[in-house]
Amino acid sequence: MTPWVLAGTTFLASAVEFVEAATIVLAVSVTQGWRVAIGGTLAATAALFVLVGVGAPILTNALSLERLELIVGPFLILFGIAWLRKAVWRFAGRKAMHDEAAIYAREVEDLRKRERGHGFAVAFQGVFVEGLEVAVIVVTFAASTPALVAWSTGGALGALLIVTVAAIVLRAPFSRVPENVLKAIVGVMLLSLGTFWTGEGAHIVWWLGEETLFALIAGYVAIAALLVALQRRIYRARA
């Protein structure tokens, strides 16, 4: 398994989720102050670190690699399909595009009506919920490829660092980040890695060995592109 695929996937998945979390934290900081926002963010980040730090070693030590792949792979397929079908819906016009500026405006309006202490809970929940999927992805990657744990966790930590620094410098929602495209890429990667690992766990001998992963990526990209074109036509005709 090429380390760059793992690092790239955790980096992109984490970047997308942390960008969403940053929008919520920025809204809290503008309406209820930086201290409340930072407090909620740090508490949620600590909880996620504990989850990854405890979860990955438990999984790795408790199960053989093949059994792990059979548990971890299906989770990645489920996550991958969830991300990729949302991308198909968005590009086919069946669901509104993700818009950080609009979400930010909505959060600010909502938080202005709330009590001051509410901001901590909103920041905590925002960071924890957005980070939970990243934590599960990192734990599954680390458990399936223990030799490459530095790459999979490094990708996620790199994204966390970049988004945090950018949020502090810009102090505005990241509306220029091409989130919809990034989400589609992450969906393809999760679905491909999940298919590959689940197959290995089920003792499938892949046609091209490890290179099969790239064939799976190409196949899922082609299917997603066809689905976008097909659904655009079907649902526009119905509208």
């Binding site: 489920l78 198909v88 999927e133 689940t198 089920a202 003792h203 499938i204």
Partner: protein
Amino acid sequence: MRALSEIYDFITGGSIVTPFGLAIAILAAFWLPHLRAEAFVGIAALTFVAASFERPN
């Protein structure tokens, strides 16, 4: 009940067909010895196609 529903939505993205499709794909991978890879990938891909036609949430 609501907590269970939220856990289900977190794992599956709210899809009805994905868990069933995935279960069938894994069973096919174990029980179709001559077509394991083809059956598994084919059913996984069909599951994605079917899930994409569900109502957006």
